[in-house]
């Protein structure tokens, strides 16, 4: 237990090894072994720690590793406080669950990547694993950090890793641009986050989560008011919005799909993007003291969920559908936290991590099989070629659609139920979203795995066999332009399908830790996580259960989901032409959705153009005014130098020359006195004698 600091450090060591030595010396095998080994170690440690945690009375364990920032006297709201930050890690139910998710799914994705990234050249391969390990290091720091600042280190670190991994194929302009976009958009959120941290310190005089929670618990709930805690929560939520891709800062996440698929699965679905939710849940006490902000969180969450789901309805890129789905599900999580159901949000976070990672890895498997083809319109009938992928993705789809008894059902219905108790119209929006989710996921499945094969032909050596079930012919064929011969869609290797299978099992069973009492369960996870959301040992009052309502809602949401799936079946399997007719009937709406509500264009027109415009304006100012001033200074200097030069040349030099000229002229004149006639000199001497004698006489004469 004292070794929980090793959980983040192990991947850190892996990243350092691969980063410092690996790129130059390690082979693919070594690098993959190191990376997976580090993650495996972290996973085992997490498991061990988690089991230990279960046996702890306080359900909390704090490890202070070292002093980071020694005490500095800083002003706070209540006098001078000591700003002191240790490198401390806290293991409590929430962070324990998170670290299990991160290490578990992270480990599986590492394993998956071993095969998925095999086409990469050695250097890129090692680099990939280095980044991946680096990400896990920072993510675990974020999760386990016991203070805002340690969390912020992880927060920024995952942002960096995300940037590096989105732009992993940096020679591709779209990937590099997507990385930049993610980084820049995240900065906006981080700005709010760090302001929130400042305000936290100023208000409470400490940055420790537990201390802040306990201090906040003593303050009144800001009902109907907007006090300092509300401001803190709002700022923190701005950070969460950026990291978790909520309105209005969600635009980076779909573009982040430019990164390799394992990255999308790990960072942009399962872990990093949930950091915002995690952070809000981590500060549950603060947020419960700011109901106004909670409401904002809920509204933003549900709106994001709805909007992303509508966009997801019409996207054709398989990864983009999943990306918008992720945004949507994150919206769900915020909705949960917004209505005070932190446990439900965290629960959904966990289940979502399983099935969304599963879906992404499945889609990666499909993309791999289709030789980097991502457009669903060029797929179809894939279930015939890759049954394992099909099965596992099917499970994932059912999970996300909310079909019992898969995990998504439990977590989503918990959220819906809690939302229903809080606000009817929020629930209505969430329910509609749930239906859409089921629809677009079913659409994804049907377009990809059913229907006819619409992808490119391949040279399999036995012509006309494209539509045969055993299409992954082993016959030689190298008509492919992509470096390695493509023999048509084929099932992925074991090392890729194994994580899929494990995740599928996870997607099935993860929900069982949170079976609601309405269904006879204990809702264990709810009770387990509760200590993380309250200050001290205080327990939330037992809430009353409306089993009837809960049952009704469950039935309704299952119905909606099933109906949506059936609708999708009808549109995309039975009568594909009908979907096109529908698209042309609602051409306007379809176009708006296809273009993602033109938000990117809006941002481009406002923020980007504005920034560019102001930059251009500043550039103009710089060029004309600043440069003008500089050039003016230069010109003035030149001019004054010229004046000085003239003065120097004609006045100073003139004086010098004048003196010289006077000397020369004078000597020229006086030279003539030097006649060279010795007698003239004698005359001069004689004149001296004469003058002397005359003076003598005069002196004698006048002296008397």
């Amino acid at each position: 237990m004292e070794l929980i600091w090793l959980i983040p450090v192990l991947p850190g060591i892996g990243a350092a090894l691969n980063g410092i030595f690996g790129v130059r010396y390690f082979g693919k095998q070594t690098a993959a072994t190191i990376a997976c080994g580090a993650m495996g170690g972290a996973l085992l440690l997490s498991l061990y720690a988690f089991v230990q945690l279960l046996g702890l009375e306080h359900r909390e364990h704090l490890v202070e590793l070292a002093q980071w920032i020694p005490p500095i006297a800083l002003e706070t709201a209540s006098g001078i406080g000591a700003f002191e930050v240790p490198w401390a890690f806290r293991l409590d139910p929430l962070s324990g669950m998170m670290s299990l998710v991160v290490t578990g799914i992270g480990f599986l994705i590492h394993v998956y990547s071993v095969a998925y990234m095999d086409h990469e050249p050695r250097g890129g391969y090692v680099r990939f694993f280095c980044y991946l390990n680096l990400f896990c290091f920072f993510m675990l720091t974020l999760v386990l950090g016991s203070t805002f600042l340690v969390m912020f280190v992880g927060w920024e670190g995952v942002g960096l890793s995300s940037y590096l991994l989105i732009g992993f194929w940096y020679h591709k302009k779209s990937a590099a641009d997507a990385g930049k976009k993610a980084f820049v958009v995240n900065r906006i959120g981080d700005f709010g986050f760090i302001l929130g941290i400042f305000l936290v310190f100023f208000t409470f005089g400490t940055l420790d989560f537990r201390a802040v929670a306990e201090a906040a618990a003593l303050m009144p709930v800001e009902e109907g008011a907007f006090g300092v805690i509300s401001l803190i929560c709002l700022l923190l939520f701005v950070g969460a919005v950026g990291k978790s891709a909520q309105i209005p800062l969600y635009v980076w996440l779909p573009d982040a799909m430019e990164g390799p698929t394992p990255v999308s699965a790990l960072i942009h679905a399962a872990t990093m993007v949930t950091a915002g939710v995690y952070m809000v849940a981590r500060n549950a006490v603060l947020f419960t003291h700011a109901p106004e902000v909670m409401f904002i969180v809920a509204v933003i969450g549900v709106l994001t969920a709805l909007m992303a789901a509508t966009i997801g309805l019409v996207q054709t890129d398989i990864k983009r559908v999943l990306a918008y789905s992720t945004v949507s599900q994150l919206g769900y999580m915020f909705l949960a936290t917004g209505v005070g159901a932190f446990a439900a949000g965290a629960f959904h976070l966990m289940t979502h991590a399983f099935f969304k990672a599963l879906l992404f890895l499945g889609s990666g498997s499909v993309i791999h099989a289709m030789n980097e083809e991502q457009d669903m319109r060029r797929m179809g009938a894939m279930r015939l070629y890759m049954p394992v992928t099909f099965m596992t993705m099917g499970i994932g789809t059912l999970a996300i659609a909310g079909i019992p008894p898969f995990s998504g059902f439990f977590s989503k219905d918990e959220i819906l139920y809690r939302t229903f108790l809080e606000s009817r119209w929020l629930w209505a929006l969430a329910a509609v979203t749930a239906g859409m989710t089921a629809f677009y996921m079913a659409r994804l499945m049907f377009m990809t795995f059913w229907g006819e094969y619409r992808g490119p032909a391949w040279d399999a050596g036995h012509g006309g066999a494209q539509h045969e079930a055993h299409g992954d012919g082993d016959a030689a064929g190298d008509g492919d332009a992509h470096g390695h011969a493509w023999h048509g869609p084929h099932e992925s290797p074991k090392i890729m399908t194994l994580p899929l299978q494990i995740l599928a099992i996870g997607a099935i069973v993860a929900g069982f830790v949170g079976v609601p009492s309405a269904l006879g369960g204990a809702n264990w996870i709810h009770g387990f996580l509760e200590p993380s959301f309250v200050a001290g040992a205080a327990h939330a009052a037992e809430e009353e259960h409306h089993y009837a309502i809960e049952w009704g809602l469950m039935a309704l949401s299952v119905l909606v989901a099933a109906g949506a799936i059936a609708f999708a079946w009808r549109l995309y399997v039975q009568r594909p032409e009908e979907s096109e007719r529908l698209a042309s009937d609602f051409a306007g709406a379809h176009r708006v959705l296809t273009n993602k509500y033109y938000v990117d264009e809006l941002y481009d027109a406002t923020a980007v153009k504005g920034t560019m415009g102001s930059a251009r304006g500043l550039w103009t100012v710089d060029r004309n005014v600043v440069d003008g001033a500089v050039n003016g200074t230069g010109w003035t200097t030149r001019a004054s130098a010229w004046v000085s030069h003239v003065v120097d040349k004609y006045v100073v030099d003139g004086l010098v020359n004048l003196v010289g000229r006077i000397c020369a002229e004078g000597s020229y004149r006086f030279r003539h006195a030097q006649t060279g006639l010795i007698q003239n000199y004698a005359v001069a001497a004689l004149f001296g004698v004469f003058a002397f004698v005359t003076l003598y006489i005069a002196a004698r004469y006048f002296g008397q």
């Binding site: 006649t675 060279g676 006639l677 010795i678 004698a682 004689l686």
Partner: protein, 101 residues
């Protein structure tokens, strides 16, 4: 009509002035040398006269030295003159200006 040292002094001054005039006016270097000899004699007359009237033989001793210097001067001066003449074929002092500027 007593002859006083003043008479000798005036005579000496007059002879000296004649020498000076000779030095300043004549252009023949030999004559200029002779004018210098006249000036030396004027000085000698003065010295001897005052030695006589002051009853002090130091004056006469100095006359001996003056004569010695005069002899030396004449010897060296005339030697220079001869050397010069060999080069320039002239004894005109106005042409002896090669050392000016």
């Amino acid at each position: 009509m007593e002859i006083t040292p003043a008479h000798y002094t005036v005579l000496s001054a007059a002879l000296f002035s004649i020498g000076v005039i000779g030095v300043l006016v004549r252009r023949n270097v030999i004559i200029i040398f002779m004018a210098i000899e006249l000036m030396l004699n004027a000085v000698n007359i003065n010295l001897v006269a005052h030695a006589r009237y002051l009853e002090n033989l130091a004056g006469q001793v100095f006359v001996v030295f003056v004569i010695a210097v005069a002899a030396a001067e004449a010897a060296v001066g005339l030697g220079i003159l001869l050397a010069f003449f060999r080069n320039k074929e002239t004894v005109n002092i106005d042409e002896m200006n090669i050392m000016r500027w």
